[in-house]
């Protein structure tokens, strides 16, 4: 059992920190987000040049051939710098799906574009109907000759607006809650019948709603075998979840540093407010939340790396739940300890608090992950064994 990072991993984190110090600030962040894809894409090429876009792509395909440990390092740094680039959508979830493509020539072609930073991806899986299960798929794909006709709606497609290629889950057989019968399609967002509603999210990212009305795609648009995509999607989402866990840790790191710095320098009643015991203890609880979250981010990353196993899924959801609870309390304390200034958009800390507060709603809400945790069978031994 070993929690230490390799030198390479540490260097990766440092490189991203340096990159962020140069590029990430409130103004440029907002500009990138509010602009159309152009500006975002320029930055994404720089991100790709750091090796981040192809982090999970095998070396044989031109990528870094890294695993979830490196994703954890990357996402912690992304959190520290509050990056708004679509790392989770493209480099983690998207890459995991593309790597699994069995159409070798397409796989090679797309991975090359991915690694080069020329391909933004988005998984369109969640749907408007709230459900305890993250695996519910109502969207249908009817087989007609050598075509499939997609019909349905997708919600909260992370960075779907900017994506060059959508990965859409749809049901080719079975009923909404079945694991069997879910297939995955590669879809050009400009395809006839695809209606996108693109919007900003409160935590500084972007998403879209997707309406699919009689969207006809060739059978070859399918990734993998018909009806067998559920496990792959779950695995990709678990990797996305692990990435969010790591990002939360990074966000907390910066936010705790900002908060303690404020406590040390802000004076009231003739002394630094960090001298007040109640504020000290609140900051201590933040540290405890951070350290628990860090532990859970390790667990999630390592479990999402292994071949997808049931106890892996359970522990990824445990990590999401644990970090969601910590993050909620942590963000509340950070704002409270900053006082009025912590409520303002002017202060970077409030952006970190906002991201931290909303993170738990992406890729399965806390409620969904808790239900999933409770319903997955407990293995004989729970932790790390």
């Amino acid at each position: 059992m070993d929690f230490t990072l390799t030198e390479e991993q540490s260097l990766l984190g440092d490189a991203i920190d340096r990159f962020n110090a140069r590029t990430q600030d409130s103004v440029s962040r907002r500009r990138r987000l509010e602009s159309e894809a152009g500006r975002l894409r320029t930055m994404w090429h720089e991100v790709a040049a750091l090796g981040l876009a192809g982090l999970l792509v095998p070396e044989a395909d031109g990528g870094s051939g890294a695993g979830m440990a490196e994703v954890m390092v990357m996402m912690q740094a992304a959190g520290r710098g509050l990056m708004v680039e679509p790392l989770v959508a493209t480099a983690v979830v998207g890459a995991t799906l593309l790597v699994a493509d069995t159409d070798v020539s397409r796989r090679t072609r797309l991975l090359a574009r991915l690694v080069a930073g020329d391909l933004l991806l988005a998984l369109a899986h969640a749907e408007p109907q709230a459900s305890a299960s993250m695996q519910q798929v109502l969207t249908e794909a009817r087989c007609q000759g050598d075509e499939y006709v997609l019909q349905g709606a997708k919600s909260l497609v992370l960075h779907g607006g900017e994506a060059d290629l959508l990965l859409v889950s749809a049901r080719t057989a079975g009923s909404p809650q079945d694991l069997e019968g879910v297939s995955l399609f590669l879809l050009d967002p400009a395809h006839p019948g695809v209606v996108k509603r693109d919007y900003a999210t409160l935590d500084g990212h972007r998403a879209c709603e997707l309406a699919l009305d009689e969207v006809r795609v060739p059978a070859s648009a399918m990734l993998g075998r018909a009806g067998t995509a559920a496990a792959l999607i779950e695995h990709a989402l678990d990797r996305g979840s692990a990435a969010l866990c790591a990002e939360a840790v990074g966000v907390m790191e910066t936010l705790l540093a900002q908060t303690t710095e404020y406590l040390r320098t802000r004076e009231q009643f003739g002394q630094a407010i960090g001298r007040f015991q109640v504020l000290q203890h609140k900051a201590v609880d933040m540290l405890v939340q951070l350290e628990q979250s860090r532990s859970m981010a390790y667990l999630a990353s390592l479990r999402a790396d292994a071949a997808h196993r049931e106890d892996g899924a359970r522990e990824v959801s445990a990590a999401r739940v644990s970090i969601a609870r910590s993050a909620r309390a942590f963000a509340q304390s950070a704002i409270q300890l900053h006082g009025g200034i912590g409520m303002t958009d002017e202060l970077p800390a409030s952006h970190y608090a906002r991201r931290l507060s909303l993170l738990e709603f992406w890729l399965g809400t806390r409620e969904q992950h808790l239900e999933r945790y409770m319903h997955l069978k407990q293995p004989d031994r729970v932790a790390a064994s």
Partner: protein, 396 residues
């Protein structure tokens, strides 16, 4: 001991309910209920309606044109107007500067300013906090120098709620330097339309523009706008805190919000059932409702116990009131699930049902959760409230 309302109180409730039903504009009410942004006009229109009825100042003593409402009447009025979706009354004139003027104002100030407040002619705001002063109010620096029959005021206020709408501001200013910081503070009424005043918006983390910085550059204020004596402003400010008739616990609005939670839970689906049947949600609603009931009983107990305003008990009401408001907003955001995420500013505006993403009621919930973080900070942070209780009630 009798916890039933009297027949008179029931009659009063009916009268308020009937009036609100007849007079409150429905578009305003629906914006309030749906947590949309309210315009300056929304507030002014509703307050004008109340002013015409005399109810804007029903809680004032009759000698200042009020109706001598009892504390229980005030509570009933708050509850009924909030339930119907009326905007909260802007308190700065009605409940903050007014009691100070009644106690310490000159006859001219009373006649002029109280009269205009009663008729809803001026929008007031409060000039207490300064950059760096925060909870430590007495450290304020904005100076007022006497020149003939004017004060010349220079400095800055911050966190000034609705300064962008205001006609008047009441300010604590420093008229003298002394060894005790509380001395040398004076209480001044300033016309917001005066030359030399600049208002700069502060945008909150939910994108809302509620508070401002207000800059004063050699603003000339007639000396008749000094309240009471020069140098006694700190005393008046403390009096204000003790006599603020604002409904500090916010029970009426929270009851409306809890009903909204119930309605939302009845509408939303989760796993093909109503969210209201999802045990964890049902339980959280029930527990908040019970907390709110306990708070309401405490408010009534405090109000009934004395004719005059509550002292340190107000801190208890503020603590629990804000904790409950935050708990409601937290549950609401959780109920929104993934639809907590979209941020479509147009969806916050009036009549914008078409713009939102997901069920329209969900659009403002996460922003509201973030916005309500403020209630445990402003008006004396909850830490300060606990300090006050520890010292004044527990003697620690």
């Amino acid at each position: 001991m009798d916890l039933e309302y009297t027949a008179d109180e029931h009659a009063f409730r009916d009268a308020v309910r009937d009036f609100v039903q007849a007079e409150l504009p429905q578009d305003i009410a629906s914006r309030v209920r749906d947590h949309r942004r309210l315009s300056r006009d929304d507030h002014v229109i509703w307050q004008d309606i109340l002013a015409r009825k005399g109810w804007l100042t029903g809680h004032w003593p009759s000698r200042f044109g009020g109706l001598d409402w009892t504390p229980v009447q005030c509570h009933v009025f708050d509850e009924e107007t909030a339930a119907a979706g009326a905007p909260r009354l802007i308190p700065f004139g009605l409940n903050m500067v007014a009691p100070v003027l009644m106690a310490f104002g000159s006859p001219w100030q009373q006649a002029h300013y109280l009269g205009r407040i009663r008729q809803n002619l001026d929008w007031w705001c409060q000039g207490y906090s300064e950059p760096g002063s925060g909870s430590d109010l007495a450290s304020l620096k904005m100076s007022a120098v006497r020149e003939g029959d004017h004060y010349v005021v220079t400095g800055q206020k911050t966190w000034t709620t609705y300064a962008q709408h205001a006609d008047m501001i009441f300010c604590l200013v420093r008229t003298a330097q002394g060894p005790r910081r509380q001395e040398g503070i004076s209480f001044l009424l300033i016309d917001m339309h005066s030359a030399g005043i600049t208002v700069r918006p502060i945008i909150l983390l939910d994108g809302e523009h509620e508070v401002n910085e207000v800059f004063f550059d050699a603003v000339r204020v007639p000396v008749e706008n000094l309240v009471g004596e020069e140098g006694r402003g700190w005393t008046y400010a403390k009096y204000l805190l003790g006599h603020e008739r604002t409904n500090i616990a916010g029970v009426g609005a929270s009851k409306r919000e809890v009903r909204a939670l119930r309605e939302l839970a009845a509408q939303l689906q989760f796993d093909g059932r109503r969210l209201a049947e999802h045990a964890p949600v049902a339980r959280r609603i029930a527990e908040i409702e019970i907390d709110l009931l306990a708070l309401e009983m405490t408010v009534l107990r405090v109000l009934s116990a004395r004719e005059q305003a509550p002292g340190p008990e107000a801190s208890i009401l503020k603590l629990r009131g804000t904790e409950i408001q935050q708990a409601i907003s937290e549950l609401a955001m959780d109920m929104a699930g993934q639809y907590a995420l979209p941020f479509v500013p147009e969806a916050f505006a009036a009549g914008s049902e078409a713009c939102g993403v997901g069920p329209v009621a969900l659009a403002p919930l996460a922003a509201r959760y973030l916005n309500l973080r403020k209630v445990s900070i402003y008006g004396g942070s909850n830490e300060i409230q606990r300090n006050i209780i520890a010292q004044t009630i527990l003697g620690l």
